[in-house]
Subunit: 408 residues, 2 copies
Amino acid sequence: MKVGTAALTVDAAGMRAQNSSLLLNMIWRERQISRAEIARRTELSPSTVSAIVADLEHSGLVRSIGAGVSRGGRRPTLIGFRDDAFSIIGVEMGATHVTVVLTDLRGRVRTHRTASQQVRNDPEGTLKTVRTLVQECLDAERVPRRSVVGLGVAAPSPVHPSSPGKMSPLILPAWRGYDVREALSTTFDLPVFVDNDANLGALSECYWGAGIGGEDLTYIKLATGIGSGHIIHGDVYRGAGGTAGEIGHIAVDSAGPPCLCGLRGCLVTLIGSGALVERARELMGTKGRKAPTVREIVEGARAGDPAARQIIDGLGQYLGVAVAGLLNLLNPAIVVLGGEISSVGDLLLDPLRASVRKRALSTSMAETRIVTSALGDKSIAVGAATLVLQAALRDRTLFPLQHVGKSA
Amino acid sequence: MKVGTAALTVDAAGMRAQNSSLLLNMIWRERQISRAEIARRTELSPSTVSAIVADLEHSGLVRSIGAGVSRGGRRPTLIGFRDDAFSIIGVEMGATHVTVVLTDLRGRVRTHRTASQQVRNDPEGTLKTVRTLVQECLDAERVPRRSVVGLGVAAPSPVHPSSPGKMSPLILPAWRGYDVREALSTTFDLPVFVDNDANLGALSECYWGAGIGGEDLTYIKLATGIGSGHIIHGDVYRGAGGTAGEIGHIAVDSAGPPCLCGLRGCLVTLIGSGALVERARELMGTKGRKAPTVREIVEGARAGDPAARQIIDGLGQYLGVAVAGLLNLLNPAIVVLGGEISSVGDLLLDPLRASVRKRALSTSMAETRIVTSALGDKSIAVGAATLVLQAALRDRTLFPLQHVGKSA
DNA sequence: CTGGTTTCTTCGCAGTGCGAACGAAGTTTT
DNA sequence: AAAACTTCGTTCGCACTGCGAAGAAACCAG
């Protein structure tokens, strides 16, 4: 049951595919590397490496980029990954907006579009908005459909592994009957990958953020809702039912306020944006009559406003309870905090770390770094694109084949 | 970083090794299967399957076991896994005892030995006891060293992935400088695998217990300490520092008693054996002057003693807090409770499930079964042996080669 | 008993990676 | 400046693998 289920058989072609992917990943990772160096690291013979590199070059994924420094003999020819060989589309469906990015194969955003959109109750309108924005991105960069690897989608809902594309009927009841994957796949005739937004935030951090080089990471998204995603052994971990990472409904304070989910004292009722804003209204000299925004709390805290600081302190303390449990249970290498409020940095990290230290084993603490995200507001959409990239780097056949001559 | 690190290159021999392992696993799993059926399922050609099966047969791992039922033509020759081809040794180092089992390749215990042993403060004596018991098991079954695949060890300490064999200096300070793997490997000249006891309990459940057929499971060991182990995608998950699963020190009640670890209200201070016994002394009509044992609590609860029932209820409630957090964070398919106290079954499961229901998202709950272990008191030692089995089924070369003729 | 079906093996073929030999291109030594 | 050495990359024959077609063996149905 556990060993060989997923493993596929190998024939001669499969062997080539495996080694080919291995080399492709190495070249992607190293950005530039010589054939000789690849042969040394992979323990493949030089002749095999040359043959595979020729393959990859012919498919347009890599190219020669001049000579490297000599190690006492002939200078090596450096091979580089062609980040611009293909494009990827990443879509973030937030609570009240849709963001679409078009990235290259290095996670760089080449174009992006955002539109306000009530996602929760308007599947039809949301899909239409997504289609429009995707098309705009493609048109803006004059990217032909055939040079797009695929389309990644971040959804504000858990995604069940057995039916990617369908939203949770409990979180997004209005989406019953809709299948995002199906819908977009038929529209654009491209492979579509869907996952939860926090999971994709985690993937984004693992590839482009605080988790670079690591394989185990937990990302916590602090926003209207509180979600988290785990990267385990380099892969998004979804759990048995796709709801792994639902940190927002961990009961932190059994005497706390009731939550929409029916429980009491959920983390989200204490540190969700709504709770923070509410608390800010109580504490801060809310000049006018309007409730302050998260942005104002951030700015206030940075400016030294004691009320804002107090709110952030409280956030750190509550969050620490959940993070401590997380460290003991999962012992991730890194915990990354994302979401607008995380931009206060140490103002949040200090009370959080103190709170965790009071509640987690020192051994779990020792190995875990807790940091705030340095990626921008498009990190979720980029994470969606990264999901496609990850799949394609593992299975080269996902890259659309295009016969490339000698031209650049 | 995340994709190709672990992947190894493949050559012709590696291709054969992969396919060979795949077949070996299939035969192990199915117990009996024909070449034709293997070819259909794996999509390998009949000729290839025959060749590989001949290989496996020659190495003594499988054998023909007569004809199956016809599907309208020639009757298939069924191939069976030879569970008795090799033996595996499993060692459990508990808090106050050492248990050694000798199993076949199906996790069946052929011989076992147990001895009282203070493990915590006596590394030298513990290792000596282990050596003695292992040798006794080998002698009892007249098993030659060369037919033993390896030796698995369950340790009452987290094991850091980078130094398997070394105990945590915080949990077992007396073991500083000792390396269990090294020590036993040189004594017996066998491969040695070491892991945390709760992790191996989890593995045991996944292979032989409640988790059969699944790939994601969490095991919780209720004993002097409270530990847990996660099986993720069929593998033990150890976390970045090897301390994943330290559920015992999750803070459940911030107003609770202080714990040895320096924190307050740890789960273990509330539901560890010590706490249960202490509470029993308060509540139960402790006939004599001695403190009751866990066994007596179990028997009392079964017999209907209200005090014992109350203790179990409390256990279920506290444990529910931690399990709810676990479900939200990891969303495992199954949670298995082990340890002596778990033998009360529903008496514990009912209050536990109720407690969880009050604290976990219904979506997380829906996909998760919570059960008590049906494996016996040797499940941890068997889990240690299973770790070796798992490794060998993946890498056939771990099976000692022995030239087998046509004999049975 | 005959025709059809299924199982398993045999044998030649195509594809893959390897290794030795070689040429190409630098560096270091003389 | 020339020779000797080192490294890089390619070429080519070899060994091994899995495949597919063909065939033999074993069985069932009529």
